[in-house]
Amino acid sequence: MTDDMFADVKHEPGASKPDPIVVADKVHRHFGGLTAVDVEHFEVQRGAITALIGPNGAGKSTFFNLLTGFDKPQTGDWLFNGHSLKGVSPAKVARAGKVRTFQLTKALSRMTVLENMRLGASDQKGENFFYAFAKPLWADREEEITARAHVLLKRFKLYEKKDDYAGSLSGGQRKLLEMARALMSEPEMVMLDEPMAGVNPALTESLLDHIVELKQEGVTVLFVEHDMHMVRRISDWVVVMAEGKIIAEGPPSTVMQNEQVQAAYLGSHHDEDLSELPSADELHEEASE
């Protein structure tokens, strides 16, 4: 099915897709003199798993932050489901149905696993200060939310841990929790920033299965990853970034054979230049602090 989706898509940077959920145009972000992201055109196919790869400092995480409202570009516009998300706050991006996770897992350590999950839900009136006083106004919704949290926790094999503080989970379990939490609001699209980073190999397989399951439920997935093995196994389409630009697109089986991709990865003058400079991601982290 997914092969069909991409059957007519050209193997070139900025290729247009039959049914794009995200369309970005001329997104440019620089930190001082360093260009972190300079994307001419970018589309994400609805219902597919798209991988965003590239060497360190390619601008993947910055681009991720831009698309989710966590950072603002100097120029450019991007649409989600046809609506512009330019200048829209991260919270509103999430409410629009595009939820992200983080490279450095953000489990809310001193809250229980179940409370973490409940926080991910949307449409809880009790989150309004005045409604919060009157439990009957939000108790029903709370039950629905809890029921959904139980289902997701069972699926992600965290149910037994539901009353433990999230801080007591292992690194891999935190990744699972973060992913499960992102699903609480039933998003149309999830963006996973290095879902495999720091996960022990025993958990890798189940994490991959969960991502594939998302696709089967109709959720669009865009993820950043270094691990090529994982990219090959689960992605339908791969977008390669280097020095802030998209340099290649294609199916996972062939995209790595692209000459430019190999040059970006295996070192030519590009890499040497970059190694002298701090990476765009590092700069970005400094700037956002």
């Binding site: 991260p90 809310l108 001193r110 200060f129 939000w138």
Partner: protein, 324 residues
């Protein structure tokens, strides 16, 4: 025997209630939301001024309370507006400076007609209408072991109102901290960006917490002022630090932590002072030196607390301790 009586008296004194209230406010800031408000005394002072000035000029009590609440709310909005978008430490810097600004402004000669400058506002100028409402007789009243005046200053009437307010705001804290609203605040305390990524407007929640905690601080200020007078210098930095101390002592993020902390803090101060005056001869330590000496001992006790029980008396170490 006198010492035991002093302790019992201190445990229920209006000051203890006022500090418990201020700490409940701070518990909204720090315990729930993780906001480092280092200017709670400023909120209290604004509450005092708001109430005392309105009532002195002939306004009714409700208007005075409203003025106190409004002043604290506006102060909270002004403080939060530029700082809540920044990292936590900035709020600490801004609040400590802003609270001092309020105090210096209140002390300034230019505002003498309004605030009474450094002498402040005398109790008799604004306490009358509150004391008139007292259901207690206008004389010393003894109930069980305690003797207080029925109506004036540190009175049974003020005790009743002060502790009723404590109970009310404890109930409010309990209800809100166990609600979805409180859950969002706790999430913000743990990681703002995570909460943003889940679709919550973090800025608005932080602002709500700052204003609510500040308003409770202002009400604490009214209770304090009704037991004494409006004195800007009584609301300096030490007051803020005491509030922090007793909140952490009782246990931040717990419902009863602020109350237990306030009682323990003030009683231990009385105890240390009492024991020191009993046991240490005047030739070694004069009466004027007793106060700083006992504060120093309390300070040492608190350092021990930090080392041996960082979550406070009631706190859950896994949820909130002040060493991580």
């Amino acid at each position: 025997m006198d010492l035991i009586y002093d302790l019992l008296r201190e445990a229920i004194a209006p000051t203890t209630a006022a500090f418990a209230l201020a700490a409940i406010g701070l518990n909204f800031h720090f315990g729930l939301t993780g906001l480092l408000n280092m200017g709670q005394a400023g909120f209290m002072l604004l509450g005092m001024y708001g109430y005392a000035i309105v009532v002195r000029e002939g306004g009714p009590i409700w208007l005075g309370i409203l003025a106190a609440i409004a002043a604290a709310a506006v102060f909270g909005l002004l403080l939060g507006w530029p700082t809540l978008k920044l990292r936590g430490d900035y709020l600490a810097i801004v609040t400590i400076a802003a609270a001092e600004m309020i105090r210096y402004l209140g002390r300034s000669q230019n505002l003498n007609a309004l605030t009474g400058a450094s002498t402040g506002i005398r109790g008799s100028d604004f306490k009358g209408s509150f004391e008139m409402l007292s259901p207690f007789p206008d004389e010393q009243v003894t109930i069980w072991v305690w003797t207080f005046h029925g109506t004036r200053s540190t009175s049974w009437w003020l005790l009743l109102v002060g502790w009723a307010l404590v109970a009310l705001f404890l109930l409010m804290f309990w209800r809100l901290s166990k609600s979805p609203w409180g859950r969002v605040l706790k999430g913000i305390r743990e990681d703002e960006d995570a909460v943003r990524s889940l679709g919550k407007n973090v800025y608005s929640y932080k602002m709500q917490a700052l204003v609510i905690g500040g308003v409770i601080g202002a009400i604490a200020g009214i209770v304090w002022a009704l037991g004494a007078s409006v004195q800007p210098d009584s609301m300096g930095r030490p007051t803020t630090f005491w509030i922090w101390t007793l909140l952490l002592l009782g246990g931040a993020a717990t419902v009863f932590g602020p109350v237990l902390g306030s009682i323990l803090f003030w009683c231990s101060l009385v105890l240390v002072k009492g024991l020191a005056s009993l046991l240490i001869p005047e030739s070694v330590l004069s009466t004027q030196e007793l106060e700083p000496f006992s504060l120093m001992l309390v300070g040492i006790a608190l350092m021990c607390l930090v080392i041996f029980r960082p979550q406070g008396v009631l706190g859950d170490k896994k949820e909130l301790a002040f060493n991580d």
